[in-house]
């Protein structure tokens, strides 16, 4: 009985890593070689072939495997090009938010005292602003575009990293091996880099992967309301917005980009989990 459970657990651990890696790999590949694999130009309008269904339905045209939208543009090509935006936002925004939040969290947790107080108060005040509103105001001020979207995500989400990293640093600091570090002559800097950071890394990996998923979702929301990149660049959120209008005649126009978002977010989560298991000597048991 316990036998089966442990086998399943072990298998799913490895499976998660591979599934996540596969999805991320597909995303990266799609973005990089979009011009090569997309069957059509995503902006190419073809008013004779509007609202064609995807290949599994009657009346489909093999030239447009996933159908076309209301302006005759190929859905598959638009999805592939849309992956570029998703990927850039996921990687850049999540990493920057992680960097900023982690640095401040490390400083607050490790040095404590007035520095900790200042940073913690800043985080508290910052978190009291409604995030979506903040993003929208920011975009309205700076102007729509990829930079604005990335900036909006970083500005809102760094606090998540800061709080969690700070809490974890405090936990590690209370451990005897940190006290030992002082005794055996390590400088504070060495203690922070050599002792504490390796022990918060697993947590960071999970947070980062979660954040990537969140970034994709935030970008989707912003482009849904038209506050993301310029409207001629296809984004999944934009596709969802367009598809919403034809939900009765062509539900796939909305469902397909939504599925892409879901799959990518799941992929990031799985990858994060798998990476953490892979890199952590304790969990490798």
């Amino acid at each position: 009985m316990g036998d089966e459970r442990t086998l399943i657990a072990a298998a799913s651990g490895a499976a998660r890593l591979w599934v996540g890696a596969a999805i991320l790999g597909a995303l990266v590949a799609a973005s990089l070689v979009a011009p090569l694999i997309a069957p059509h130009d995503p902006l190419d309008q073809n008013l004779l072939n509007t609202l064609l269904p995807p290949f599994w339905r009657g009346g489909a045209d093999p030239a447009f495997p996933l159908g076309t939208d209301s302006l005759g543009r190929d859905v598959l090509s638009r999805l592939i090009y849309g992956s570029r935006v998703a990927l850039i936002v996921a990687l850049v925004a999540a990493s920057l938010a992680a960097l900023l939040g982690t640095l401040l969290g490390l400083v607050a947790g490790f040095f404590g005292g007035a520095l900790d107080n200042a940073i913690s108060r800043l985080v508290e005040i910052w978190m009291s602003f409604p995030p979506v509103l903040l993003s929208i105001v920011l975009v309205a001020v700076i102007g729509a575009g990829l930079d604005a979207v990335i900036l909006a995500i970083v500005i809102v989400d760094w606090t998540r990293f800061c709080r969690v990293v700070r809490a974890e640093v405090l936990v590690q600091k209370a451990q005897d091996y940190v006290a030992s570090a002082r005794i055996i002559g390590l400088s504070r800097a060495s203690t922070l880099t050599g002792e504490i950071i390796p022990n918060i890394l697993p947590l960071l990996i999970v947070l980062l992967s979660l954040e990537m998923g969140i970034a994709v979702i935030v970008e989707t929301i912003l482009s849904f309301v038209g506050l993301s990149v310029a409207s001629d660049t296809p984004t999944w959120g934009g596709l969802i917005a367009e598809g919403r209008l034809y939900i009765n005649q062509a539900w796939w126009l909305m469902a397909l980009p939504m599925s892409c978002v879901v799959i990518v977010v799941l992929g990031f989560n799985a990858l994060g989990d798998g990476l953490r298991t892979l890199l952590d000597p304790i969990m490798r048991q």
């Binding site: 009985m1 316990g2 036998d3 459970r5 442990t6």
Partner: protein
């Protein structure tokens, strides 16, 4: 083998008990353990810390960890086969006839619930009392374990109590239904030595009054000497020796028992050198034990 006249009907009887991990074939954790505990007897199990320490106690209580199973043998309580009992029957037995005093009082109590809630839950489940009755019984139980101001303690959370107090609460809950057998797994190891003496005294007072037998698991030979009537020495999941306490200490028959005694520091015998258990002996015993495992394969 036995020095004293044993009663014909033992309360707890363990016969040829083998426990093994579910996934590993041919490797055992308990190897042919056999012992008998008479009604009202305090029976010590001397076993070193390690993987198999709590296994015997857990096997008796029916709460083995998920990766471990009973491969062979029998455990009977008052003639009833515990291993064959249905989960329903087991739940009925636990608390009423079988109870446990754990090692770490902090993790055994729910840190976010008040003492009153935890005790009344336990009492209502096993004694079928309503809330008011259970509360009254809880108060009486705390008085029986010599806690003054029982009402105040009932209103507190576990973290507000000292370790000794928490252990008293757990002992009160264990003896609440006057069980026939209590499995005490290192109940005083986490306590200060002065508190330990009080707790040991309390355990003995309660068990004498209720006629409860105790399976007292510990690695401390001193504790065994003061509270146990009989002792079983376990090593690598095997019974090495079993005897009445005075006989065991006066003339231990197995070299391991003697080695354990020599490894125990005594403040009243400073001249005696402290000798760790010889590695050769430990190795030999382990090899002997593992050689028996073919029985399971």
């Amino acid at each position: 083998m036995n020095d004293t006249l044993r009663p014909m009907t033992a309360l707890l009887e363990i016969r040829d008990l083998w426990a093994a991990p579910v996934r590993q074939r041919g490797h055992a954790l308990l190897r042919g353990v056999a012992l008998a505990v008479a009604p009202g007897e305090v029976h010590g199990i001397v076993v070193e810390s390690g993987a198999g320490k709590s296994l015997l106690g857990r096997a008796v209580l029916g709460v083995l960890p998920s990766g471990i199973r009973i491969a062979k043998g029998a455990i009977t309580l008052d003639g009833e086969d515990l291993l064959a009992a249905s989960p329903r029957r087991r739940r009925a037995l636990l608390g009423r006839f079988l109870a446990m005093v754990p090692q770490d009082p902090m993790t055994a109590l729910n840190p976010v619930r008040r003492i009153a809630a935890q005790m009344t839950d336990h009492l209502r489940l096993h004694l079928r009392l309503d809330r008011r009755q259970a509360l009254a019984v809880a108060e009486a139980l705390l008085a029986a374990v010599h806690i003054r101001e029982a009402r105040r303690v009932l209103a507190q959370y576990p973290f507000e109590l000292s370790g000794g107090m928490r252990q008293r609460v757990l002992i009160a809950m264990a003896f609440a239904c006057r069980p026939r057998l209590v499995v005490a797994d290192e109940p005083t190891t986490a306590l200060d030595v002065t508190v330990q003496r009080q707790i040991l005294r309390l355990i003995r007072e309660l068990q004498r009054e209720a006629g409860t037998a105790i399976l007292f698991i510990t690695h401390d030979l001193g504790v065994v000497a003061k509270i146990c009537d009989r002792v079983t020495v376990l090593h690598a999941g095997r019974v090495l020796e079993e005897a009445a306490t005075p006989a065991l200490f006066a003339a231990p028959r197995h070299p391991y028992t003697a080695a354990l005694m020599r490894a125990t520091p005594r403040y009243d015998r400073p001249g005696e050198a402290l000798e760790p258990v010889p590695a050769a002996l430990a190795e030999q015993l382990r090899a002997e034990a593992e050689a028996l495992d073919h029985v399971l394969a």
